[in-house]
Point group: C2
Chain length 402, copies 2
């Protein structure tokens, strides 16, 4: 059952109790890297994300994207038989992932201490809104709440405008990435010590971590970092500009590039202006400068400008919509859009894995499981349960096949 | 030299050629987890980030935040002696990280093939703007450019407004996180195969990966995801609201919470309004609904409302500035602000590691190196060079001590 998908984590087994986004993003990354992820869902209902539209043939696109390459079983963890099966699985697993509210696993009798007794080599990772400790540990969190409390919204948006949500759920996603890093580091520690351990990741902590130098800058200077919008705070012009049909980026980081830029867009007049003579003065007078450039850029299309800037060797780029991202030659060349065959939804496309290995790329992209799809394979194949035993479990509501 | 910092990666040695942000963020995470990171900088000048202000006693806060827990040596990789020393270090290392433009390492004679001959167990990770392959491989990228080309800016900001840069450099940071995941996965593969390999991460690919379900949603429905600003696209009210003195979040995800919310803020009148009877109708009529709530919320402070909402069990939260993040009790309880002693800059604070282990947390936070600080320790201690040999290297401009 384990092995042979070619990924670097081939042979690593993950029991995955996570739901919705942060945890499933973590187990998606591990699965993309070849880990055998056994997703455990509540019988009959499954992961809440199965309800998130749009659906194709009854299958959630949201769920299918995040849960590719995983196996799926159902298990009622409140029933003793369900608990027993989970413990048997844990005995044969390397990693357990959960993103319930702190205390939930303990209340189920499935806390770290209990499961470490079953398997001392187990790595048990919890991903929660605020972490397993601290005054807010019991509070629920959503992506929007941790983006707000972690400071990144205060830095995103136009100067003078309202704080702005990042348009992708990075509150969840960065927590998923750090959790993946945590379990992989714990696997490495286990090679040395022979023992597993508990890994505790908080969505809020991860938001703090990605503020990086803003934290130290503030604590050293006492100056509050604020929203600077779409320009670089200390390099000019390094900003978003409007063409006649959309927006694009120009990143002219030094005097040579500035001079080239003025010539290629026919604004040699700006070169003589002492307000714009150095990067420091350009930054000080950014408002006048950006307005002058916007006046010129808005007369022609973004494609027109990007071609000329590119030719002149001035760093620049388009601002792409999701449609353009999906058909961009570089994105396609890197296999960042992957097609897979789903048993119900048919052929669908999902984003690819952004880590490319010279020797150990996962060779297949398997579809997300339908609810309970791998019950027989996992309960029979890994745990050795007989067909009749599995039928009994179904009859007792411990597992379900849809 | 190796060992005993208590982290899960204790004993793992990283030779780190990376500069500025994406690569150094990756090696920062590895160092926070206990890896011995030997940062290699150009003699006399060092990492470009050393020039990024503000500075304290001549030391860059930006650099100090990102390079804590690392050792620093200088090495001119264009000189044969510098190259030889790098190869000797690689022989004794587990991981090499680089974020030059593709082709640079090969031109130096330090490409993967060359270094794998020196150490077949080496994991060699490259983090670049567009990756080692594809039509754009040779182009330079900045955070702003990959945020723009990766789609996230098209999803960030107010509906009808311009695309908006995320206020933290997530183009760099997510690439750093995925590179860390890549090298840890390759370490795991090496336990099985005994061999190292090359890991190739592109900043653009990572932006595509964090769009997650937006990709599949678009490809299935053909509907282009756009900016929805500060509200949830399908749950209402789940949005940013203005108090009299700032903004805050209310996340009332179902009818029960909606009813509680109306009562607690004294807007029972909204409960009788058929426009707002269900989540679907609230979402359809979100403009009227949000305006009605804003009218009430703007009359009192955010603190006032958050206290009442919290008491009523309605998910909510403040939108914090970096100053408030740095003193938030939950952030402090989680040790997400860490103090360290820098030999020149004195006591400074940096963000902590957001992965907490039950058994193997790194026990110290060491300051970022001054330029060439660990030349003697690394060249003498690890490679066994004699003091006279190191002096000769300095005389020949192969290393520098500042």
């Amino acid at each position: 059952m384990r092995g042979d998908n070619g990924g670097p984590l081939d042979g690593v087994r993950v029991v995955d109790l996570t739901r919705v986004l942060a945890g499933p993003f973590c187990s998606m990354v591990l699965a993309d890297l070849g880990a055998e992820v056994i997703k455990v869902e509540y019988p009959g209902r499954g992961d809440d994300a199965r309800a998130f539209g749009p659906h194709v043939q009854g299958e959630s696109t949201y769920f299918m994207s995040l849960n590719r390459n995983k196996k799926g079983i159902t298990l009622n963890l409140k029933k003793p038989a369900g608990k027993g099966i989970l413990q048997s699985l844990v005995k044969k697993a390397d990693i357990l992932l959960e993103n319930f509210r702190p205390g939930t696993m303990e209340a189920l009798g499935l806390g770290y201490e209990e499961l470490a007794r079953v398997n001392p080599k187990l790595i048990y990772a919890s991903c929660s809104g605020f972490g397993q400790t601290g005054p807010l540990r019991d509070r629920p969190a959503y992506d929007l709440i941790v983006q707000a409390m972690g400071g990144i919204m205060s830095l995103t948006g136009a100067p003078g405008g309202p704080p702005t949500r990042v348009g992708s759920s990075i509150g969840d996603i960065t927590a998923g990435l750090f959790t993946a890093i945590g379990v992989l580091a714990a696997l490495q520690a286990r090679e040395r010590t022979g023992r597993g351990q508990k890994v505790d990741v908080s969505m809020l902590d991860c938001q703090v971590a990605i503020l990086e130098n803003a934290i130290t800058r503030y604590l050293v200077t006492g100056e509050l970092p604020t929203r600077v919008g779409n320009r670089h705070p200390s390099i000019t012009p390094f900003a978003v500009f409007p063409g006649s049909d959309g927006y694009f980026i120009v990143a002219a980081g030094n005097d040579t590039l500035w001079e080239k830029l003025c010539r290629v867009i026919g604004r040699e007049d700006l070169l003589g202006n002492p307000l714009f003579a150095t990067n420091a003065s350009r930054t000080e007078n950014h408002q006048e400068l950006l307005e002058a450039l916007e006046g010129t850029f808005s007369t022609k299309s973004t494609g027109y400008w990007l071609e000329r800037l590119q030719e002149a060797g001035i760093p620049c780029g388009p601002i792409l919509g999701v449609d353009e991202v999906c058909r961009h030659p570089q994105v396609l060349a890197r296999e960042m859009i992957v097609e897979l065959d789903h048993p119900k939804a048919g052929r669908i496309k999902v984003p690819g894995c952004p880590v490319k290995f010279s020797e150990t790329n996962r060779t297949t992209t398997d579809p997300a499981p339908t609810l309970g799809q791998h019950n027989r394979e996992v309960l029979g194949g890994i745990l050795g349960l007989k067909p009749g035993e599995i039928e009994n479990l179904e009859r007792d509501g411990v597992v379900s096949f849809s």
